[in-house]
Symmetry: C2
Subunit: 197 residues, 2 copies
DNA sequence: TGCCACTCACTATAGAGATAGGTAGTTTGT
DNA sequence: ACAAACTACCTATCTCTATAGTGAGTGGCA
């Protein structure tokens, strides 16, 4: 059910079309909650049906139209209620750690490759997180900028610091994962013999 | 599809009934890949159908029977192939970090409670991980003990160290999460005013 | 003898999520 | 004039996961 609230979170910054949402998603909320557009469009429909959103049909070009969604009062209430309700705990489900526990079954070469891929994926992810963190800190992040317009200037620091806090948590997780993979590579070399030997 | 390989991993230690699997699961593999028994039983059936497992009906008491699953040759091959294939990347999907990014919408009290619950959940989880790590290190972990019987004594250290490596990764993640939640609590106190004031 | 906790195995159902499409209009460049 | 790329929205299907059950056998103990 968190997708619904991820969408609400995004739409509290400004009204958007489904297309906007699916584009913006990848640049902000998706770092925390990934979703493809085939999930987003139907969910927006359901949210409108449930009264959390209302839509306005906006002309687009000569014949085209688009549907702009805005959060309703009831949507804001639902979002606040979710914010104040206990966090749902996600059970561990990590193929990488599962594999790591059984590395004695892997070819040494394959083990190394996989650890490298894992490290590289997280390194890339980390770079993206740090880039986004920087745009939040200097307030050049477009969605954040739109969001701050609704607030008094004295509130800005507080809002930005929560976003930074969330990204810092993600960055810590990424760094932890990278460090672990590095240690794994050393371990594989030690136990399976370095490939250079 | 990782459930299938998590089950294979467990069953390589010794043949087990579905019930054994669902019990053992919670004490070992579940730290890495959680699954309820309603997923385990059907998956074991499918794995037998696909030739990865074979089952023997074992009498149990006077009238009862149970079904014991053992990994087949083809199951071992499939497991090795999976071990040597690239890790599937799991997209971020973390309600806690999603919420953190929008804490300006929460009641200060609720924010504190949620961060405390998050910290406490991970603290408990960490304790369990550390306890399991200790039983792996001294080789008193029952599944590990059964597993080592298949191997030459000179291999034991290598096998144990990979398990420890996996648990160390999970422990690092847990510690990182706890430290982040602690910083969050300080941040909320700073931004929302300490409740003692 | 009756009860309870546990062992064993499974089903039913609904929702979430991944993957892969389809269709129609618009803008931009050549 | 036409193609390519982008905007916009949606569907279909399959798998995965969560939740909540069912029902029968066993072993102990009061």
């Amino acid at each position: 059910m968190s997708l619904r609230f991820a969408l609400l979170a995004l739409l509290t910054s400004r009204p958007m079309t489904g297309y906007d949402v699916s584009k913006q998603f990848s640049q902000s909320v998706a770092h925390v909650w990934h979703a493809p557009d085939s999930q987003i469009y139907p969910e927006l429909n359901r949210m409108e049906r449930d009264g959390l959103l209302e839509s306005a049909v906006v002309p687009w070009g000569k014949k085209g139209t688009k549907k702009e969604y805005a959060v309703t009062e009831s949507g804001v209430t639902a979002f606040r209620e979710w914010m104040d309700s206990p966090i749902e705990i996600r059970r561990q489900r990590e193929p990488a750690y599962l594999k790591a526990a059984y590395l004695e079954w892997a070819e040494p070469g394959a083990a190394r490759t996989e650890l490298e891929q894992f490290r590289d994926y997280w390194t890339e992810h980390l770079a993206m997180l740090e880039a986004t963190r920087a745009t939040l800190l200097d307030r050049s992040h477009p969605t954040l900028a739109r969001r701050l317009e609704h607030y008094d200037e004295r509130e800005w620091d507080r809002i930005v610091r929560y976003k930074i806090f969330a990204y810092d948590g993600l960055i810590d997780q990424a760094r932890t994962a990278i460090a672990w993979a590095e240690r794994g590579l050393v371990l594989v070399d030690e136990l399976e013999g370095s490939p250079v030997d």
